[in-house]
Symmetry: C2
Subunit: 292 residues, 2 copies
């Protein structure tokens, strides 16, 4: 590669907020991209993105922008992706690679397969783990992905070259790259992120609907505060995530309900030994994780 030549030519970003905008800024800061073109639903947002230098210009018509793009990043909420995939599918060029920034993968892959069909090999799914809320171009930062994890979830149809391109782009953003299958990705995030949110919402809701809810909240303390912090998360966003990852989340919820059934039995039997055993295994795992 020529020293003066950026690694990527044109990058197209759908959604120029935290995820997409930070991707663009990071590649620009690395001198790795010639031009960034942004698409979005709101013209004023695209103007701000351009003023802030997040994108070089706003795209008007995908027919003119997709064919010669090296990477197309779809960084919108997952619910908007099927429509965007359908809009760009007719225009994929021989070297175009499409990737995404969605926090669930099974549903995104299904939408991509439906839109790209025989060209699905050009779609390399990914999940950058860096802030869940999309807060517009002014939230974008070129160092957002520095030391953060990006999970790439390759499809059997992805060849090595395309996979390497996407991994390379995220590496240039400073991220640590992991690989999981889309199915395993969804199971893991159902277990460590989506389920805890559901459980935390459930506890607060169970208290909030009681006639004497105030009494309970009066005596809630620091343990409750930590456990329920994520119950202050955005209801619509978490509705969408839970629905998007419904199958994996139901599996994890059922595993957890079985765990609670066992704990109920142990408690009912006043089986102190087993109770301490369960608590002890949990504590050790939590401490080892917390210190890592």
């Amino acid at each position: 590669m020529d020293a003066g030549q950026p690694e990527f030519g044109k990058i197209v970003v759908f959604g120029t907020g935290l995820i997409g905008g930070s991707f663009a800024l990071a590649l620009k800061a690395a001198g790795a991209v010639e031009e960034v073109v942004g698409f979005g639903r709101t013209p004023s947002t695209l103007r701000v993105a351009q003023e802030l230098g997040v994108i070089d210009r706003a795209g008007i018509n995908p027919a003119h922008e997709i064919g010669d793009a090296d990477i197309v990043l779809v960084a919108t909420p997952v619910a908007q992706m099927p429509e965007i995939f359908a809009r760009i599918a007719p225009y994929l060029g021989p070297n175009t690679i499409v990737t995404d920034g969605g926090s669930t993968k099974g549903d995104v892959v299904a939408a991509a397969r439906a839109a790209f069909r025989g060209h699905i090999g050009k779609f390399v799914p990914a999940h950058p783990i860096a802030g869940a809320e999309n807060s517009g171009p002014s939230a974008a930062r070129r160092d957002l992905y520095q030391g953060k994890k990006v999970v790439v979830t390759p499809l059997p149809e992805n060849n090595d070259e395309r996979l390497d391109h996407v991994k390379r782009a995220w590496a240039l953003c400073g991220a640590d790259i992991y690989e999981l299958t889309p199915e395993m990705h969804d199971r893991v995030f159902a277990a460590v992120s989506h389920l805890p949110h559901l459980l935390s919402f459930a506890l607060v809701h169970d208290l909030a609907v009681r006639p004497d809810a105030d009494l309970f909240f009066t005596f809630a303390a620091s343990g409750f505060r930590d456990f329920t912090r994520i119950a202050a998360s955005h209801p619509e966003m978490w509705r969408d995530i839970c629905l998007a990852n419904r199958a994996a989340l139901l599996g994890e919820l059922d595993s957890y309900r079985s765990q609670l059934d066992e704990l109920r039995e142990v408690l009912d039997q006043a089986d102190g030994e087993r109770l301490e055993d369960i608590f002890g295994i949990a504590r050790q795992a939590r401490r080892e994780w917390g210190s890592s």
Copy 2:
């Protein structure tokens, strides 16, 4: 009351650690007590308590110390209380008031009734909410209870004078005094403290026993960190609390399991409206609580 005369004469404290030691130090700092006598299982701990000025002297024989005490605070782990109640029961004087610092009340009251029988009116149960771990006399601080909550859970047999004495002692420590029945106390703390601990232990245990546990922990992030912070709590202590408050905890656990059953149904039906409704109610309650 004479200006130069402390409000209480002799205070006897069983367990001179964080809870009992701080009670003694606070009353001394308020000039409200003539003499503090400490009992404990470990002579060296009592020596340290005396060197630190937490107690004036170590008691040897309850027969010589209980009859003329104004307040006897039993601030040991709840599991030790039945034995202590039995040891002091024969020596209660006409003006002796016994109280405790246990974090569950139904079991403590039952133990007190068994030991004090016709004298149960002299026992005024209480729960100071200020740190769960008993860390010895060096952890005791005279300002521990400043602005903290103390829940007094009166018995029908307590007369106003005795109740007022206990409330007055805790008020002199700087605490805000609340009153609940023992049953309501146990329900409230099962819901806002014991159940969240159980749920947090359960989630980490459910992951920790999987063959591929490491993979899950690798992608756990800040939401998981908050939710599971209390799963690093002390297994023996929480075993004891869960067993001590078993009846109320089972009730709260069943209420929560019903809530999860509903959420499972809502998720299975992909009922986004209801899901958002539940999340929204929880979020609002959590935010109102968090800002109060």
